[in-house]
């Protein structure tokens, strides 16, 4: 019977509704949960300031968003994908295979990644080296790779407090993880001389670089697959933990979190904009050019998003925690000209 019910439901659905599928008049956006707040702030303002309906913004992660984006062209595919990392070659190819050939890349600004602990805990002054030494699965001792046995932060750096190593880092499905690996673990690996020691020890350069990014699995480093709210809940349960957050999330929870400095710089929109704070990344959204002129308001939305009033240093996005793009004027030009990715 279940098959019958299923079939009849599908039949009812397809017969009754496919024919009746009406032209979509809202813009549909999906992707990175880091970009979601910015996207929704702009969407809300767009709905209030224009005659177009408020666009719909779904979350789900950069990769999931880009996958949906590359499903094809047409009414039931999304118009914009939010991403906290640049689109990959493979994704461009997948897009092209599905008929999505003209993609407009829009960089909206920069986002900082901060390291924060419980507000009542000790102060931390980190360098990438500390994180590498504390969290790498294997470290180099006397020229040999041995499993990491560090248990407290002062074992990796005397300047750090005598506190158990317990880190909550974003899971691998997050774009934030990629930045963490690249800007913290990799740099730490290089700065501490571990990479050089591995290569000198006869390892292939690529393998050595990969080894740098492997996190320990003995429970000292915990992958968080959920959102920052989950990381915050973990810190609440384990006061000795250190969590990895987005700057905007930290700025909304300054009463619970104490932020650590990285290489001596306190993260803020100013230090990230000036490039002093090392752990930051650009945020993007991608527009399907084929939908411009079909879905009402699409180009207007893209232009509205990067306008000085919104994405500029005094706009609501910067107020929320986005680091404004110093080259915003260039981005605006590119959007106006509908410049597509070349590959």
């Amino acid at each position: 019977m279940n098959i019958k019910a299923l079939l009849s439901a599908t039949a009812v659905a397809s017969v009754a509704f496919t024919g009746a599928a009406i032209a979509r008049d809202q813009i549909q956006i999906a992707g990175s949960s880091t970009v979601l707040p910015y996207s929704s702030i702009v969407a809300e303002a767009f709905g209030e300031n224009t005659d177009f309906p408020t666009p719909v913004v779904e979350s789900g992660g950069s990769s999931a968003g880009l996958k949906k984006f590359c499903d094809g062209v047409g009414e039931n595919t999304i118009d914009i994908a939010n991403s906290s990392r640049p689109i990959r070659e493979g994704e461009i190819k997948a897009c092209a295979d599905a008929g999505v050939t003209d993609i407009i890349e829009v960089r909206i600004g920069y986002d900082g990644i901060v390291f924060a602990s419980d507000i009542n805990g000790a102060d931390f002054v980190f360098t990438p080296t500390d994180w590498y030494k504390a969290l790498a699965a294997e470290v180099v001792v006397d020229g040999k790779l041995v499993p990491n046995t560090a248990t407290t932060w002062n074992q990796v750096n005397d300047a750090l407090p005598n506190q158990q190593i317990q880190a909550f880092v974003p899971g691998t499905k997050h774009g934030t993880r990629e930045v963490f690996e690249e800007k913290v673990m990799m740099h730490g690996c290089e700065d501490s001389g571990a990479l050089k020691a591995m290569v000198d020890g006869g390892m292939d350069k690529k393998d050595a670089a990969k080894k740098c990014l492997v996190l320990r699995t003995d429970g000292r480093s915990v992958d968080i697959d959920g959102d920052y709210t989950e990381t915050l809940a973990r810190l609440d349960a384990n006061k000795a933990g250190i969590g990895v957050f987005g700057l905007a999330f930290y700025e909304n929870n300054t009463d619970k979190l104490k932020v650590a400095t990285m290489s001596g710089v306190t993260p803020s929109t100013e230090t990230i904009a000036s490039g002093e704070y090392p752990v930051s990344r650009p945020l993007f959204f991608y527009v399907k050019k084929a939908h411009i002129g079909v879905v009402p308001g699409l180009k207007e939305f893209a232009q509205f998003f990067v306008s000085d009033e919104l994405a500029g240093p005094d706009g609501p996005l910067a107020q929320y925690g986005l680091v404004s793009d110093p080259e915003l004027a260039k981005v605006q030009e590119a959007v106006a000209a509908e410049t597509t990715l070349t590959h």
Partner: protein, 450 residues
Amino acid sequence: MTETATTYPSGKETGQAVRRKTSLLKTDALTRRRNAAETRFKIYGVVAILIGLFFLVALLYAIFSNGLTAFNQTFVSIPVTLDREAVEKAEASVVKTSGYNAMIDAALVAELDRAGIATDMRPADLRKMLSSGAAAQIRSFVLANPGRVGQTVTFDLLASSRVDGYLKGRVTREALVNDRNLDAAHLDLVDEMQTKGIVEKRFNMDFITGSDASDSRPEQAGIGVSMLGSLYMMLVVLFLSLPIGVAASIYLEEFAPKNRFTDLIEVNISNLAAVPSIVFGILGLAAFIQFAHLPQSAPIVGGLVLTLMTLPTIIISTRASLKAVPPSIRDAALGVGASKMQSVFHHVLPLAMPGILTGTIIGLAQALGETAPLLLIGMVGFIASNYPSGIASGFFDPNSAMPAQIYEWAKRADPAFYERAWGGIIVLLFFLMTMNIVAIILRRRFERRW
């Protein structure tokens, strides 16, 4: 007990003499053990119930203590002069709403001055006490009442989430030390404004009727639009799963031959009822969106997915209530010459109806609280921001659902959304309880016993 006593004499002669002297009123060791076992069992039962009650009370306490505050909101009432020139200038700019901020600044300064509250804060900083949606509120008033331009109108503007949190005890002066959105100095002003009656906390209908708001203004977010989304989904579920489910059950129960094939179907229905709901979400994505090309994030798709999920529940409960109708009813109907179909539709079905309706309502209540399948068909995110413009738009335009909205709020960065998530749970619980009470009433009123 008398019987137990009388059976004793059948025992051995030696023991009898002793036992005969025992009376019912005097318990022996065996009886004591049995009674003790019974008492223990009762205690286990009471403890089990107490544990259950404790968790229920703890849950309800958590929900209501965290969520009730969401129904109150802080408002700032200030007279705003809608200067014609300023309105025209604002309407000419790209972001029209931000053009209204200057009017709000002037109004705030004037109102503080009138109330005799001294401050050396910049007007733009003063405005941080208000929701960033305040400008939009004034603009939509101007658009709706162009005739009032040039006059001074008193607005009840939403206070920012931090100010609101302060009056609700969530935000303290110490908590604002590192905050960029509000300073402790603002809170001193808020205290003064409250004594002068400019700032006031009161019931917020917009939480129940309003639409979702972006991350920068949690104070404006409401559950109304996602409630409509849930309503449209439930309509789809009701009108698809009730007829399909009942027809399938009647056929299986009354007409279908009993053989291996129908047995197999029966086992499969029971299995389907236990399938995790996310599986239906994946199925819905593949069948309805990718294959049938229905729009994404639409309540129609959500309703179809939930229909698939609810069907087994409805079929199982319908079959149970059809089975509960005594065969004598069918026999009598057939005996006076009714056809099989007449006996079912005139006699069996009406008698089984209370059970069927109860099962349907419980199935609907289950579907109403379901989030997991909606994740996959795009109903979670910043979606419930447009009111549907009509019936068709209600089914086909993107919308969220109450549980999805709650999930979304619980994920957001600003702690003010957390309170709204709990508030949303209260609204959802209210709906679930209403549906369950209706189910109980139906059963009580129409149930027959044989």
